[in-house]
Subunit: 320 residues, 2 copies
């Protein structure tokens, strides 16, 4: 079968026209893929920024295609474990160590295969799973969003952040956003957000404070020095959910603010099977559509990766 | 009436033999006090380490005595507000701004007056309210302790920490403790704790890790650099509840640990009326007794304050 293979770290992806087809394993089914979507995780693995990387491997956590005669998408989280509060020791994500979706076929546990929501095309469906379940868990399971919440979402140019925004708007919450790019901020306002701040500006936190005063819920993937400002923007009883840490260590945090305001500083990673199913129900009910950017044929996988690395909330898709 | 009065900040307390008796206010009742207990809050107010201090004032959040012919204790939290998640804007604590328990009589809202638990003496009852409700909320409402939890309590020499320990042992959890004093650590082991570490030792966190590996729940009142180590000691899905910050700013925190381990870093302050009632039920059921240190007559209040400032988990009591 055709496959896009990472042969060695720090190397371009190789298009292999005759990669061996996956073998049938117990409890697994073979999905014939039409589309796959690229996530930051794939790029980070290529750059060697993950622990326990094995090569060669077919990357790719997101995909859509056919199981027998039914259009399907795949939940890329395996072996979550028996606790809703966190993933167990054997948790893994499709596309490393197990071969992923950048190929004509992928073998996945039958329980991880779900019908494509009716309102989505196969191409749109491919862009939903990993970002969707990550956004869902951060906002709902961990953040416990309510329609009355004043919500702040940082880095709205990101794919997960963008889905967090769509979910929060669908709930009916008041949503504010940050980004380094005015273009992303303006678009978010048009899509229904209430206020915004460009975090390249020195007093971005002051801008938000003057508009919203304080937030009930903040969803962040950056960490770093800005996290300290986010904590100060929380109202009493507020929740700050982190699903990433792209700007690194948080350099200072006041325990007085944490205990006096009775804050909740929470971490969130990916999502459980229940999170995935709840996310799908919500996406169906509100007919939420992930936004798609450029589409590349599988043979141009490396070019697609370079495009995805430029960022933006629109998923880069591989057509298989 | 006799009263211990803070006339001005940074001044010794004055014993006043003829302070005006409190007037009857709507919804308030007058409790005739037999005992009062000293909290760190009283000492901090004397030192001017609180916002919006008014003087002269009768300090004291904890007290026990008689309402008509019934022995009673007082919930020192007023106007918590209508949310269990946090205190409202009008929340205050007995003993500043309202006159407190270091006097023969105190006027408090009728709803804040509770029967003295049968297993406690009036003297013991005076030592329970503020520390008890603070310990309860941190451990149960915020920390959601279960009997299966491996629990770590820092600074076990403190009055609240000591009650957190007694509550956690009564639940049946595995309890570990830290302190700067070996004497406190040895005593905690005798009282049923599982392991301990002296945080004056450089590798105190390594000592705990070698004994317990990781914790489900940590209750802390220090913050500071040790907080970073506490976060690393948490298991996946772990909870760290802060009810104080005596060692100041947390200098570094990894967002990667927060999100990957799906941690819960939580703040806790005092407690709601529901917390207070739940705490009393638990204390009655498990016949928990707060530990009492030296007792001083009200006229020796300043000496009692100096004794209380030396620390230790045993409450210094004023006899009125």
């Amino acid at each position: 079968m055709k496959a896009l293979v990472l042969q060695a770290l720090h190397q371009p992806l190789s298009f292999v026209p005759d990669y061996p087809e996956p073998e049938q394993i117990n409890n697994h089914r073979i999905v014939r893929l039409n589309y796959a979507a690229i996530n930051r995780r794939d790029i980070w693995i290529q750059k060697g920024q993950y622990a326990h990387i094995r090569v060669p491997v077919i990357l790719g956590s997101d995909g859509s295609g056919w199981l027998d005669d039914k259009p399907v998408i795949i939940n890329p989280g395996f072996n979550w474990g028996n606790k809703e509060s966190h993933q167990g020791e054997n948790f893994s994500i499709l596309g490393m160590p197990l071969n992923g979706t950048f190929a004509e076929q992928v073998s996945v546990p039958e329980n991880n295969i779900y019908p494509l929501p009716n309102h989505l095309s196969l191409k749109e469906g491919a862009a939903l799973p990993l970002a969707g379940v990550t956004a869902w868990r951060a906002l709902f399971t961990r953040g416990r969003i309510t329609p009355k919440d004043r919500v702040l979402i940082t880095g709205i140019g990101g794919g997960v952040a963008h889905l967090v925004m769509k979910f929060a708007l669908a709930v009916g919450a008041q949503v504010s956003v940050t980004s380094s790019k005015d273009e992303y901020l303006e678009r978010a306002l048009k899509q229904g957000c209430y206020s915004m701040a460009n975090y390249k500006e020195k007093d971005w936190a002051g801008v938000l404070k003057s508009k919203v005063n304080s937030f009930d819920l903040i969803v962040d993937s950056a960490g770093g020095a800005a996290y300290t400002s986010l904590v100060k923007l929380l109202d009493f009883g507020g929740r700050l959910v982190s699903y990433g840490g792209t700007t690194g260590v948080i350099p200072a945090l006041s325990p007085q603010i944490i205990f006096w305001k009775q804050l909740n500083l929470l971490g969130s990673t990916m999502g459980s099977p229940k999170d995935f199913e709840d996310m799908l129900d919500f996406v169906r009910k509100h007919e939420i559509v992930p936004e798609i950017g450029d589409t590349f044929p599988l043979s141009q996988g490396q070019t697609a990766f370079e495009q995805a690395e430029l960022g933006g909330h629109r998923k880069i898709v591989l057509e298989i």
